[in-house]
């Protein structure tokens, strides 16, 4: 049973999520595990990835593959599956990975399971755990044929470095005409400001409920008192209240701090997927029906403009 993992990279850095899926696959002990890196000038990344549990890292290195567009990557992975006979291809959830996995499913008529939080090998078969219906039910999912495709939810595992590093092998994918039709005119480069929220142990996040951009000071003060970082929802980033680098959610960062304090955030699915891995969630919102109360460990129905400054004061006093 051989498993291939798509290794995503951005700004010359391998994404932690895909390395984590690679390590998880290696830990299954269910046959050979390989990785694939696709891009331009990425051979160095391939050797780095080889340290995380891949016996072989295949690399397609071509200027035509520079832009992180999904369709040429479908061509590359489909070719590897055909040539090397991989029975399973796994991805860490991302916007790019989801589009590749889905395109690949159609290309190969291969079953795709998504929102996976775990995977195990049971008697020569793979069984995935899928979190469904807003995390209200856990589903054991399987595949009826090979290749099997799976998309893992971010934060499901951690990358583990292995003592023996694998080898790197180049391959030349044949790209199809329709796969090259879309063209990247301008590629995203987010400006980072301050420490990355992805590594923060404590995060205080603000949403629309703050009412106006100036009120982000409340969130910043509490974050400072708790020794944490500041995050924001897509709605307030779109509105220009806070920089994009602080955005948590489906189209932002995925975070899993020890403590996440959500101020004036409704908890829409777009935001939830980026922070549901947090160990403890405290939510303050004036709307008692806000979805965030369904998954917050402590939900407080009330006016954040009263509660947050008082909370900051109490935390400061306690730490003083």
């Amino acid at each position: 049973m051989s498993i291939l993992i798509f290794l995503e990279h951005h700004a010359n850095e391998l994404q932690k999520g895909s390395l984590a899926v690679l390590s998880k696959a290696a830990s299954l002990g269910a046959g050979e595990v390989a990785g694939v890196v696709v891009g331009s000038g990425v051979e160095g990344l391939a050797s780095q990835a080889a340290a995380f549990g891949a016996a072989t890292v295949y690399v397609a290195d071509d200027p035509k593959l520079e832009a992180p567009l999904p369709q040429p990557r479908v061509d590359a992975i489909a070719q590897l599956v055909a040539d090397k006979g991989f029975e399973t291809v796994l991805f860490a959830q991302s916007i790019l990975a989801a589009d590749i996995a889905s395109g690949l499913a159609a290309r190969l008529d291969a079953g795709l399971n998504w929102q996976l939080t775990d995977l195990s090998a049971v008697g020569g078969e793979l069984v995935g755990k899928q979190s469904a219906l807003g995390d209200s039910v856990l589903v054991d999912v399987g595949w009826r044929s090979t290749p099997r495709l799976g998309l893992f939810r971010s934060g499901a595992f951690d990358p583990v470095e292995q003592p023996a590093a694998g080898t790197v092998e180049r391959f030349e994918p044949q790209l199809q005409e329709h796969s090259l039709a879309a063209e990247m005119v301008e590629q995203a480069h987010a400006e980072e400001s301050g420490p990355s929220i992805e590594d923060a142990d404590v995060i205080v996040a603000g949403g629309r409920g703050l009412g106006e951009p100036e009120k982000f000071a409340l969130v910043e003060d509490l974050a400072k008192a708790l020794g944490g970082a500041v995050a924001a929802t897509r709605a307030v980033v779109d509105a220009g209240w806070y920089p994009y680098s602080a955005q948590v959610g489906q189209t932002g960062k995925s975070v899993a701090p020890t403590l996440y304090v959500a101020c004036g955030i409704s908890g829409a699915i777009q935001h939830k997927v980026g922070m549901q891995g947090s160990k403890t969630i405290v939510a303050i919102n004036k709307d008692p029906n806000a979805p965030i109360f369904e998954f917050a460990d402590l939900g407080v129905v009330g006016d954040l403009h009263q509660i947050v400054p008082r909370l900051t004061e109490l935390v400061r006093a306690r730490k003083a």
């Binding site: 951005h10 700004a11 369709q71 916007i95 989801a98 589009d99 590749i100 889905s102 499913a105 159609a106 290309r107 008529d109 291969a110 079953g111 795709l112 469904a132 219906l133 807003g134 209200s136 039910v137 856990l138 589903v139 054991d140 999912v141 595949w143 044929s145 998309l151 329709h178 039709a181 879309a182 063209e183 301008e186 590629q187 995203a188 897509r234 994009y244 189209t251 020890t258 403590l259 777009q270 403890t280 008692p288 109360f293 369904e294 917050a296 460990d297 402590l298 939900g299 407080v300 129905v301 009330g302 006016d303 009263q306 509660i307 947050v308 008082r310 909370l311 935390v315 306690r318 730490k319």
Partner: protein, 260 residues
């Protein structure tokens, strides 16, 4: 310009969603509604049609017969026509089977542009467009927050984990829009009245030339093996602020050893 918008009927937002233990499928017996994310795609199609001053917007869906009720909302918003693929043999379709059947219906329509909403609220899936684009062998752009039409092509500005991408693709193309792209209009009374008389076609797998073995559970490559309760997320506590909320939060954090 002909635009096809792929939409889905999902359980109404107020309904308690559950998976039927016997069929291992989502229980769709309750009230249904148009997937809210799809309204953004319908809205964008209508805006593009208005901007070009001509063309047709057709909504395409797959589901039980009664999903026509939800399609009528799209017609009430202003879409011209609805096509519903409805067939017992299509029930239980996974991504492989759904994308194949939907692509057949789209091939019949030959649209210049195929639009999708950001995700479905019931399956938490956000993948179908890429599979459909692959079957149609067309370029695809997802998460589009700004869409501009040019002569024979379109440009989408989209948000990813890393910031904003700008991607151009020749038509025909497949685009999935983000829910931040627009505010969907509310259907007017006139729109609602007019929707009933707009063309609504129900087609079967046979009509589309889809082999029964390629649709529904038979044509699916994934399966649900078992259902279980998620591990408890600890106890979720909800309190109303009585003036002491800040104190209660501090006590909670101290109890969890999150405050030094």
């Amino acid at each position: 310009m002909k635009i096809a918008v792929c939409v889905k009927e999902v359980p109404d937002a107020t309904a308690h969603k559950r998976i039927d233990a016997a069929t291992k499928r989502l229980d769709r017996s309750g009230e249904g509604a148009l997937n809210a994310f799809d309204a953004n795609a319908v809205e964008e199609a209508l805006r593009l049609k208005d901007a070009t001053g001509e063309g047709e917007v057709v909504v395409v869906s797959m589901g039980p017969e009664r999903a026509l009720n939800s399609l009528r909302k799209a017609l009430a918003m202003g879409a011209d026509r609805a096509v519903l693929i409805s067939d017992e043999g299509a029930a239980g379709s996974d991504l492989v089977a759904t994308s194949r059947t939907l692509a057949k219906a789209l091939e019949r329509e030959q649209p210049d542009l195929v639009l999708f909403g950001q995700q479905s609220s019931d399956s938490d899936g956000a993948v179908l467009w890429a599979a459909v684009a692959e079957r149609l062998r067309r370029p695809v752009i997802s998460q589009v927050a700004e869409l501009t039409l040019e002569e024979g092509s379109l440009t989408g500005k989209r948000q990813t984990e890393f910031g904003y991408d700008v991607i151009r693709a020749p038509l025909p193309a497949v685009v999935a829009v983000a829910d931040s792209i627009n505010e969907p209009r509310y259907p007017s009374l006139k729109g609602i009245m007019g929707a009933k008389s707009k063309p609504q076609e129900t087609v079967s797998l046979a009509d589309l030339g889809v082999d029964p073995g390629d649709a529904g559970e038979a044509g699916s490559r994934t399966e649900v093996l078992a259902l279980s309760e998620p591990p408890p997320r600890g106890e979720t506590r909800k309190i109303e602020d009585d003036g002491s909320a800040a104190e209660q939060i501090v006590a909670f954090l101290a109890e969890k050893r999150l405050l030094s």
